[in-house]
Symmetry: C2
Subunit: 406 residues, 2 copies
């Protein structure tokens, strides 16, 4: 059994880096705060005698040797970057549960046959550099390294420059080693476990998601002197599109979601009709065919609404993560571990995307969920119980022992 109080303390220590007034964390990918969080984790890993390496995307690998040196490592972990108004648990729990499992094994002098490897994936959130889960995606071959390094943030800084600025870039070639398995513990970020009073979820897959950058171009003009007919107001076009995306998702109830999280309005002056607006659409569904239909509707809505306001428009698909089905042997190992621990649990699929989605392409993968209050996430008020986090880490411990000794 792991030490739940120690795990909790480490989560709270990490949360102090980039702590926000609302009780959350702001450690956006590859910022100074992210660098501090990564450094703290590395100090903890060194304290446990783990060997740390980094790859070209800044992914961190902390390895504990196994008794059978030829075997591929059994891996686990998650990410340390957060949303701008992020919570204390999203990602952090998975990384520190992994560390806790290693420390528990060391405390008890337990060796495993396969090596163990704690993974910290860079830029999972995608809040600064889209697409999200970018660095695990490069590791798994979903994205080319050059594509990933050339992504830019809103200020035009490339991911490569950001890696350089905070000294996060490693030497290893991305994906240069195989993983025997990958398990990612995470808070659920949805309402199911809490509602059903369960301690643990065994995640069998992840719904698909697609992101689009949609722009509307009209003409800057004076708000007072320009009559309504003849205006080319890009914000009115974008606003109609935001409403249409909500309606599109509702029409595919209950599983579809569609959201516009980001908007850039130009010139954003009180008394100038906006001439150029860009929004980002995030749409998700467990079924790729439904996503195809939703994408088609998005394209025709953008076209129709732009034409209605006499605007030009552009659509760029900036992320496309197909629905993922995790490996049955890993899922069963988690079932067995949850059962052995005596926790009330169920299988479920994830609404949020995770690094595990990409790693599933190159290694048998599954995830462990624990409940979070109200299913709330990407919010400073995100919250989870020490008892539930402890349960999730215990399931990880049991599963890792099984996977690494089988």
């Amino acid at each position: 059994r792991i030490d739940g109080a120690r795990l909790w303390r480490r989560i709270m220590d990490m949360a102090e880096i980039g702590a926000t007034p609302g009780g959350g964390s702001c450690r956006v990918a590859l910022t100074e705060e992210d660098a501090e969080g990564r450094a703290l984790l590395c100090r903890w890993c060194e304290g446990l005698g783990l060997r740390i390496t980094k790859d070209r995307m800044g992914n961190i690998f902390a390895r504990r040797p196994g008794t059978d040196g030829d075997r591929d490592p059994v891996a686990f972990g998650s990410h340390l970057d957060t949303q701008p108004h992020g919570g204390r648990f999203d990602g952090v729990f998975g990384v520190l549960a992994g560390l806790e499992v290693i420390e528990t094994l060391s405390d008890q002098d337990v060796q495993t046959r396969a090596p163990l490897e704690l993974c910290v994936w860079s830029n999972e959130e995608g809040a600064r550099f889209a697409p999200p889960m970018l660095a695990s995606g490069v590791f798994a071959g979903s994205y080319e390294l050059d594509f990933a390094l050339s992504r830019t943030d809103n200020d035009g800084v490339t991911l490569d420059q950001a890696l350089e600025q905070i000294g996060a870039r490693g030497e290893r070639v991305c994906g240069d080693h195989r993983l025997a398995a990958f398990i990612e513990p995470h808070i659920e970020q949805g309402p199911i476990l809490e509602r059903e009073g369960l301690k643990v979820g065994v995640v069998t897959g992840v719904q698909g998601s697609r992101w689009f950058r949609v722009s509307f171009t009209g003409q800057d003009a004076h708000t007072g002197a320009t009559p309504m007919p003849g205006r080319r107001d890009a914000l009115v076009g974008a606003a109609r599109f935001v409403v249409a995306m909500q309606e599109l998702a509702l029409a595919q109830a209950p599983h579809a979601v569609a959201t516009i999280g980001h908007i850039d309005n130009q010139p954003n002056s009180h008394n100038t009709i906006p001439g150029h607006v860009t929004v980002t659409v995030d749409m998700r569904h467990p079924d790729a065919e439904v996503l195809d239909a939703m994408e088609a509707e998005l394209r025709s809505a953008a076209e129709t609404l732009a034409a209605g306001e006499n605007l030009e428009h552009g659509i760029e698909r900036i992320a496309n993560t197909p629905p993922v089905h995790f490996a049955e042997p890993c899922v069963q190992a988690l079932d067995a571990a949850a059962h052995a621990c005596g926790y009330a649990y169920r299988r479920l699929i994830s609404g949020a995307g995770h690094d595990a989605c990409h790693i599933a392409r190159v290694a048998p993968t599954a995830m462990i969920f624990v409940p979070c209050a109200g299913g709330l996430s990407h919010n400073e008020a995100e919250s989870a119980e020490q008892e539930d986090l402890t349960a999730g880490a215990n399931v990880l411990l049991q599963a890792i022992i099984r996977l690494a000794n089988s």
Copy 2:
């Protein structure tokens, strides 16, 4: 007659300060660029031997003595600040037409009985500090000095700090002297003069405008893991409100306009449901009673739409400029001047707000319009003909001579 080529050259010289790639100017109020523009104007005024003073709001007064020293000055001018993506003529024309009139009189050794005063009003655009026309408003007693100095920009800098930073603050008490008359030349910023093939417009008044800051508050949450029902998406509420404002203005056709030029979306992350959105509404109409009705509709639309998305909302009125009717004697002086010059002209009312709106409260006031291409303004592509600008300045010259000698 004024020297149209000299006037044009000065407008082009001014446009080099803060020149934008799109051929416009960016000299947002009380920035370094605005400071440079003000300094250039002061050098020109000193070259003509004018006495320059500044007041607490940074308004600049450049005076040419009259033969009757006891008389209040006949004043004219406009502003030098621009929109972020502003044009080369908005405001600048009025200031430099005034300078050109003074230089023409000096060239010809013409004295006037009343002194002449060129006025440059600070922060006319309101792009950085709302409300617009703030410094002429303090001069005229429409706003308290303390209120004006404490207005903040998007970064929380107060207008007082901005005045300090660029050294624009003067010693004079705002409104410490009377003006015998005030004439503001300006580009029309609307389509009427161009459409009717006229060189000059005599402006008899300005429609009323009201600005509102409207906020919607929901809850940050995960875009993928949060089901559509139960979301509290502040951007969806704001988007419905943007559409409602367009419909509200169309329902009061043909004279009403309503625009949302500015939006602040929080946390503005691709995969976080926006929890807090603030927009600024600019609504205008020539009739105060219609504005009352529009304001009532705005308030009820915000309430209804916020409730529909389960949001909280707030409404703050940040500017209220009633419809203005200029002084008939000034209007007639302009009619007479345009007639004497032999220009095709008409009377019209202004869709845009101007410093003249406030000055009209404390001095007989009117405005001269000249056409601009396509009626386009608050746009880098704003454009006007040298011939029309020359005509406008000639009308100013004739009117000033009449007013200052009568």
